[in-house]
């Protein structure tokens, strides 16, 4: 092509266009799609338009969406190709000027200029064909519901009052939201246009890079692919910019405000007619979901009195553990003076326990406490969960009781007692995992209290003596 004088190339092109049209008519003869117009002046994409009419949505059945999509893309492709060639051969003499053609834009007879002025925007609009709903389409869908808002625009500066005050204020908000959305949509479209323009710039530079011998483009498809590369590169540049990020967020937020206002209006109307609303259904769904979570989690995680009580127990146990650690750790024992010395029998007894893995390392008070807890847990859990032990092999328990009968008889604190009573003895909770857990916690707390008290008392005595 580049080797031919331009006028000759044009003649050849027009002749071939006629040939193309004849060939297309041959292909579509069954559809009797003769146009009756001068073939040379008919855009090539018209062939695809004819295909679209022949295989319209009604005829194509399940694959109509695909057909529509393919035809639209093929139409765009050939329109692009023909526009490039036509624009490049529009001048007088010399070889076709591709860069000049690009600068002049793609003006194609029979095709709206806008898509080719802004191909990225066109591509975005066409996404809807795949069943997706763009923001733009969503707004079109909302149009009927927005009519009241449009009418309300004139009220925007009017203060609302009287019987219809609330309604007027609502319409004002809706109108404001709509206007704001349109403003944001304009900003967004401006950036998409900027991406398109940048795409043409990049296309030019990519074409320039193909001037080297051996790198020239020799097919319409290769030319089209290069244009797509440029368009996407430019779009990515814009889409990753801080400005786009801000505008995109503002656009989405603005649309959500419009939708929210419309939803409120729909709910108001539904309420007037005594119909259930989305908010009501959501509210029921939320309550049901929370209930299911509570049941699934055994009631131990969700909010509520039960969870609070368990949490209280946990805190008490933690405090007691801390106090116990203060009593049994070597450093604190030294500071606490006689606290550690006060329980040698327990230590001795603990060493006798055959089931302890490392009895010599365990602080004596802790061992006694664990024995108590084991006993308590065993008692509340029953034989199925904790097999009965040979009492002869459990001297720590006997010694513990012997040394601390008062503690053993001491009831739990009022709070703990209430917790245990409520959790463990509520009929519906019997056998429930939470009840079992609560029982174990309460037993542990009771045992811990019995053994922690001497340590706490010793620590306090030590403090009064000036210790730390």
């Amino acid at each position: 092509m580049a080797d031919l004088p331009k006028n000759e190339w044009m003649d050849q092109w027009q002749a071939l266009s006629r040939q193309y049209w004849a060939a297309w008519q041959e292909l579509s003869r069954e559809a009797a799609a003769a146009s009756g117009t001068d073939p040379a002046s008919v855009p090539w994409h018209e062939g695809f338009e004819q295909w679209a009419r022949m295989f319209g949505a009604g005829d194509a059945g399940k694959q109509s969406e695909t057909i529509e999509r393919v035809l639209a893309s093929a139409r765009n492709f050939t329109a692009f190709a023909q526009a490039m060639i036509a624009a490049a051969t529009a001048g007088q003499g010399g070889a076709p000027g591709w860069q000049e053609a690009l600068r002049n834009g793609f003006r194609i007879p029979g095709v709206a200029a806008t898509p080719f002025d802004n191909p990225v925007a066109q591509a975005l609009r066409e996404i809807s064909g795949a069943g997706a709903r763009s923001f733009e389409q969503m707004m079109q869908g909302l149009a009927p519901a927005l009519d009241p808002a449009r009418e309300a625009k004139s009220w925007l500066r009017t203060p609302a009052f009287g019987f219809l005050r609330e309604h007027q204020e609502h319409y004002q908000k809706m109108a404001v939201a709509l206007i704001e959305y349109q403003e944001q949509a304009s900003r967004y479209n401006a950036l998409i246009l900027k991406a398109s323009q940048r795409g043409f710039e990049l296309f030019e530079s990519k074409l320039a890079a193909r001037e080297e011998p051996g790198r020239q483009i020799d097919s319409l498809r290769a030319l089209y692919d290069l244009w797509v590369d440029a368009a996407e590169e430019a779009y990515a540049e814009v889409a990753l910019s801080p400005e786009f990020r801000e505008v995109y967020g503002a656009l989405v937020n603005a649309q959500m405000r419009v939708r929210s206002q419309v939803q409120q209006e729909v709910e108001r109307i539904a309420t007037d007619f005594g119909m259930p609303t989305r908010s009501e259904l959501d509210s029921i769904g939320q309550r049901l979901h929370e209930l299911r979570r509570e049941l699934r989690n055994g009631g131990s995680v969700s909010s509520g009195a039960l969870a609070r009580e368990v949490e209280t127990l946990r805190r008490e146990v933690a405090a007691l553990k801390a106090a116990l650690n203060g009593r049994t750790s070597p450093a604190k024992n030294a500071e606490a003076g006689g606290a550690a010395k006060s329980s040698p029998p327990k230590a001795q007894a603990t060493r006798k326990r055959p089931r302890q893995a490392a009895p010599k390392k365990r602080p004596p008070a802790a061992a006694a406490l664990r024995a108590d807890v084991d006993e308590a847990v065993s008692a509340v859990s029953g034989p199925a969960q904790s097999p009965p032990r040979d009492r002869k092999k459990s001297p720590p328990r006997a010694r513990t009781h012997a040394h601390a009968p008062a503690h053993a008889q001491r009831p739990a604190t009022p709070r703990a007692r209430k917790s245990v009573a409520k959790i463990a003895h509520t009929p519906s909770r019997v056998g429930h995992p939470v009840a079992t857990f609560a029982e174990r916690m309460a037993a542990f707390a009771r045992a811990a209290r019995r053994h922690a008290k001497p340590a706490v008392a010793a620590a306090r005595r030590n403090q009064r003596r000036g210790g730390h």
Binding site: M1, W98, E126, E211, L220
Partner: protein, 355 residues
């Protein structure tokens, strides 16, 4: 020299060839039924709400003693891993001797609007893991998380490590704030609370629109121009349509889970920055000490490789392996290269840790 050397005859020939393909394609398209998917026989072993856990049945008994549970993303349907006979990650894993299970999340509706990430991760996934463990008798199982499911699997493993033997992540976003992450970039200024409060569940069409706008011309136009080339090939056309079905067959997103995922992952980037709470526990990637295999795609436009490859810097395990696949987010399941490379890589990695 002019950059374009298109001979008029060649140009005409191209256009006519396209017309011929279209003419043939129209006939082919009209003859096609709805495409089917799923190549491998499977049985349901656990059901809960809309969730189903499937076990895939291979032609031979699995040789691996520890099963693999695939945790797919919520945003697409999981049959991508078993799309068709010659494009099936599942089938190839079975052929390697693995015992493969999959969580199918189903299609959430408004009844699921209040499901949280806690429900998904500490609830559904945990109970699915238990179900697979019960079904196989294994005390711990292998987890294979894909895309968003990979992020979920990371959270799950950090919180329930005693139930996970090995963790495999595929095309999984970890650092959501890398500069090339377009989706994350766009979501940063979105008022997520307003978004979810307004929409309830997030419509699948809106999600798809968002994905397509990542590359609008390529995904919405060039792809279909390329389709013309295969319009007269019924088998190829079916492959294309099967993929097309998968792309647009998307579930709506449960509102509360979406809210937390966008706020904590996309906006807060808490998976790497810290402060991510699932339920009442904090997720720390450093807590993950089981072996980790991280597979990502080098040409992934949805989860950029940079978002995945940082995982090794954050997990606590000393046994971390990384595999870069030459392909895209979809190609990693369905391309010929994927069939050859990915399942054997997973199998060999697991086999070395089977002792």
């Amino acid at each position: 020299m002019e950059p374009v050397r298109i001979e008029p005859v060649k140009a005409l020939d191209e256009v006519l060839k396209m017309e011929r393909k279209l003419a043939a394609g129209m006939r082919t398209l009209r003859e096609l039924d709805d495409v089917d998917y799923g190549a491998t026989d499977k049985e349901a072993i656990y059901r809960e709400d809309k969730l189903v856990v499937y076990r895939f049945k291979g032609s031979q008994r699995p040789t691996a003693k520890v099963p693999i549970l695939i945790v797919y993303a919520l945003v697409n349907r999981p049959y991508m891993v078993d799309l068709q006979s010659d494009r099936s990650l599942v089938k190839n894993l079975l052929a390697q001797g693995e015992d493969v299970y999959l969580i199918d999340w189903g299609y959430p509706d408004r009844a699921d609007r209040w499901l949280t990430l806690d429900d998904y991760i500490n609830g559904y996934i945990d109970r699915s893991v238990d179900a697979v463990a019960r079904h196989t008798g294994a005390d711990r199982i292998n987890l294979l998380g894909i895309c968003q499911g990979g992020a979920f699997s990371l959270c799950y493993t950090a919180l329930h490590q005693d139930k996970v033997r090995n963790l495999i992540t595929m095309v999984t976003p970890v650092d959501f704030h890398t500069p090339d992450n377009m989706l994350s970039h766009w979501m940063r200024e979105v008022d997520t609370d307003l978004f979810v409060d307004t929409l309830g569940n997030v419509p699948a069409d809106l999600m798809n629109w968002c994905y397509l706008t990542l590359k609008p011309v390529r995904l919405n136009q060039q792809k279909y121009v390329g389709l013309v080339d295969i319009l007269d090939d019924k088998a190829e056309l079916e492959n294309f349509l099967r993929m097309e079905k998968w792309i647009f067959d998307s579930p709506d997103q449960a509102g509360e889970a979406f809210r937390q995922f966008i706020k904590d992952f996309y906006q807060g980037n808490k998976l790497v920055k810290g402060g991510l709470h699932i339920g009442d526990r904090e997720v720390r990637l450093g807590d993950i000490t089981v072996p980790v295999l991280n597979i990502f795609a080098e040409q992934d436009h949805l989860v950029p490789p940079s978002a995945s490859r940082v995982l090794g810097d954050h997990v606590g395990t000393k046994d971390y392996t990384q595999l870069a696949f030459k392909g895209g987010h979809i190609g990693i399941y369905v391309s010929g290269r994927a069939q050859r490379e990915v399942p054997p890589a997973i199998h060999n990695w697991l086999a070395k840790r089977a002792g």
